[in-house]
């Protein structure tokens, strides 16, 4: 039993990988066996993610080394004090992201099992879903830059294949190709950055590089490469153009997880700024760059969302806009923490708000994309002009959509309000103009979702949707889990912040702690 607990971080990627590779084999035994297998595998990996997270929050950072005989054998005795093997470093920040991936990962699989019922090619689909989940877990958990690149590629390629899975007269194939090309460019930029660091510091381990960081000219080039690649992967505005296409064309459950995969890139962006270059880069400059990216994403995202007629494309632009809030919160955090005239608590508050928004966004945006998936499944169209009057027959879907829409618009008592309030409060003290922009964007978000709600669910029954049925039970359960979390996090935000977000924020600030967890108090 001990050996299982020791191996939990390894099992985190081992279970989805084994599941993915066995899925084609089990598909031959029939649909129900394959579905049960996929659900068991994602369920187990989610349990694994939650267990690792709780272990980290209880006992502190876990360092897991691949390919050694005992857990404590992190640094080989003959290596000169450097961990030469691939390691997973899971501190409270990683644990926070793991919880998000675990919750959303399970819900989207439950949803897909039901929504893929009538479609062909399911063995490949579920293999790719499990690979995507393994890739995202790896991106979150890894403590090694090259390993991060590998998992980034796994999740990008699996994601691109899934975006193109329903060819849809070539439109989805085009979106998938776009996603694959841009992800590859992003991956290559990242790889060049890793090479620049490896050439100077002879290590790929994040903790070792952070410890030795000199901030030479090459390091700054590497920083810009990392920053660009990861900002592109998370869909910040000047590089956001792939998000509407791929989020709109992917099957809805996949879109919900692509959001999580974007946020894993966002996490890596913060990890690079706070830990890898911790204390070395100029926090005010980098903070303001992140803030400007955030403001642009927020505003351009929401203004592009308003005229959209395709419900998923509209939600995709809102995802860009919400990413802006996270960037704004963390950017203000980075800038305010270094400031001499502002108190530290403002920076910490902004950071907590930005991080809390990552979790809330993954949950309510996942819920919204799943409701859009139900509409697609039952009505076969995403065009808002053709939909209407669905509230008569799809009561639960309507309730879930309402919960998600109110949460994204920042209306109490839903979780979006809790994190947005933290961002507003701290940003207002930092720079009132930023807070005003953030609030205006929030109002525009509400306006846009009122429009969507009205055109999808309100009004008289349309003749073509006379006999439209409520979503199947597994889909309702998947949406229900997310909806309950949206409400719970909205009613008890303080408990969630204290238990999960505050440790994550302090782990992100404390780069010395990250280094010494790996290098052993060096």
């Amino acid at each position: 039993m001990d050996i299982l607990f020791d191996n939990l971080p390894g099992l985190l990627i081992a279970i989805p990988l084994l599941g993915a590779f066995l899925t084609p084999l089990l598909s031959r035994a029939g649909d129900s066996i394959r579905n049960a297998w996929v659900l068991i595998v994602t369920g187990l990996s989610s349990v694994c993610g939650l267990l690792v997270a709780s272990q980290v929050l209880e006992t502190g950072t876990i360092v897991y080394t691949f390919g050694v005989n005992t857990v404590s054998n992190i640094i080989p005795p003959d290596s000169g004090g450097i961990p030469i093997r691939i390691i997973f470093t899971i501190d409270p920040m990683n644990a926070f992201m793991l919880i998000i991936a675990a919750i959303v990962g399970f819900c989207i699989t439950l949803f897909s099992v039901s929504s893929m019922e009538r479609l062909s090619g399911k063995d490949g689909f579920f293999t790719l879903v499990l690979l995507l989940i393994a890739g995202v877990y790896g991106m979150i958990a890894t403590g090694d830059l090259f390993n991060f690149f590998v998992f980034l590629e796994i999740s990008s390629l699996a994601g691109a294949a899934l975006v193109a899975y329903r060819i849809d007269k070539g439109v989805a194939a085009e979106a998938g190709l776009k996603y694959a090309a841009l992800s590859t460019i992003g991956g290559m930029l990242f790889l060049v950055g890793v090479g620049l660091l490896f050439a100077q510091y002879n290590s790929l381990n994040m903790a070792v590089i952070a410890d030795r960081m000199q901030l030479t000219g090459l390091d700054i080039i590497a920083f810009v490469l990392f920053f660009t690649a990861l900002a592109m992967k998370c869909g910040a505005v000047p590089m956001h153009f792939w998000t509407p296409d791929s989020y709109a064309m992917a099957p809805s459950a996949i879109t919900a997880f692509l959001v999580v995969s974007s946020q894993a890139s966002l996490y890596a962006l913060f990890r690079v700024c706070f830990t890898l270059y911790g204390g070395q880069i100029n926090p005010l400059t980098v903070g303001w760059v992140i803030i400007i990216l955030g403001i642009l994403s927020m505003f351009i995202g929401v203004t592009m969302a308003i005229p959209q007629k395709d419900v998923k494309r509209l939600m995709a632009y809102h995802a860009v806009s919400q990413t802006g809030y996270m960037l704004l919160g963390v950017g203000v955090g980075l800038a305010a923490l270094s400031s001499t005239c502002l108190s530290q608590s403002i920076g910490v508050m902004a950071l907590k708000g930005g991080l809390f928004h990552i979790m809330n966004h993954a949950i309510y945006k996942g819920l919204l994309f799943l409701t859009a998936g139900v509409i697609m499944y039952r009505c076969g169209t995403r065009n808002l002009n053709q939909l209407g009057g669905l509230g008569h027959n799809m009561k639960w879907t309507m309730v879930f959509f309402m919960i998600g829409a109110l949460a994204i618009a920042g209306i109490p008592p839903f979780n979006g309000f809790a994190s947005k309030l933290m961002i507003y409060e701290s940003t207002f003290l930092f720079n009132p103009l930023l807070a005003v922009i953030a609030m205006v964007v929030s109002i525009l978000t509400l306006a846009s979702f009122v429009k969507v709600f009205h055109s999808m669910f309100m009004g008289p029954k349309l003749p073509e949707y006379e006999n439209v049925k409520e979503a199947p039970t597994p889909m309702l359960i998947a949406m229900g889990i997310l909806a309950i979390l949206v409400v719970l996090f909205g009613i008890f935000p303080q408990q969630v912040v204290d238990a999960l977000v505050a440790p994550a924020a302090s782990a992100l600030i404390d780069y010395q702690g990250y280094i010494s967890a790996v290098l052993g108090g060096a």
């Binding site: 390894g10 099992l11 084999l25 897991y64």
Partner: protein, 159 residues
């Protein structure tokens, strides 16, 4: 792709096929000793199959080798790879531990010090993983080419 090449090309391809496959397996098996490895060897073997596809009719080729066979290769390679990595956990080590290295038996020999001609029976789980990757890549690349070729022939029929 509907018509096949001349008899000279077909015969040469048939003969070359065997040598290419043997060379590919040589690269796979010597992955831990010489440059190359599972991926490179698997790619070489796949070029052997591609040579047959180019020289013969696609239908003839599909009569000899089924698509399902390549899918099985791909799948069994992947399962062997992850299985070898996972086998370390029940034995009480961490994921990906090289538990066969230096243990005697299959691939368990310790490399003697100094210049040597290269001993295949060393390096623990690394050769096993190389073989797994080799099987996976030969299946995967062949499938990719098969799908692309059927795409071409469909296109030509459509015109």
């Amino acid at each position: 792709m509907s018509d096949c090449m001349s008899k000279i090309i077909r015969t040469t391809a048939d003969i070359m096929f065997m040598f290419i496959v043997v060379f590919g397996f040589y690269i796979v098996l010597h992955g831990h000793l010489t440059p190359g490895g599972g991926f490179q060897g698997g790619a070489v073997i796949a070029t052997g199959f591609i040579l047959l596809i180019v020289a013969h009719k696609l239908d003839d080729f599909l009569g000899w080798f089924k698509k399902k066979a390549f899918q099985n290769f791909e799948m069994s390679g992947l399962i062997l790879f992850i299985g070898t990595a996972l086998a370390a956990i029940p034995l009480g080590y961490l994921f990906f531990m090289n538990f066969l290295s230096g243990a005697g038996g299959l691939f368990g020999q310790v490399v003697p010090y100094g210049v040597n001609p290269g001993f295949l029976n060393t390096a623990g789980t690394i050769p096993i993983m190389n073989i797994a990757v080799g099987i996976e890549v030969l299946g995967g690349l062949s499938i990719i080419i098969l799908y692309m070729t059927s795409g071409i022939s469909n296109h030509e029929e459509g015109e």
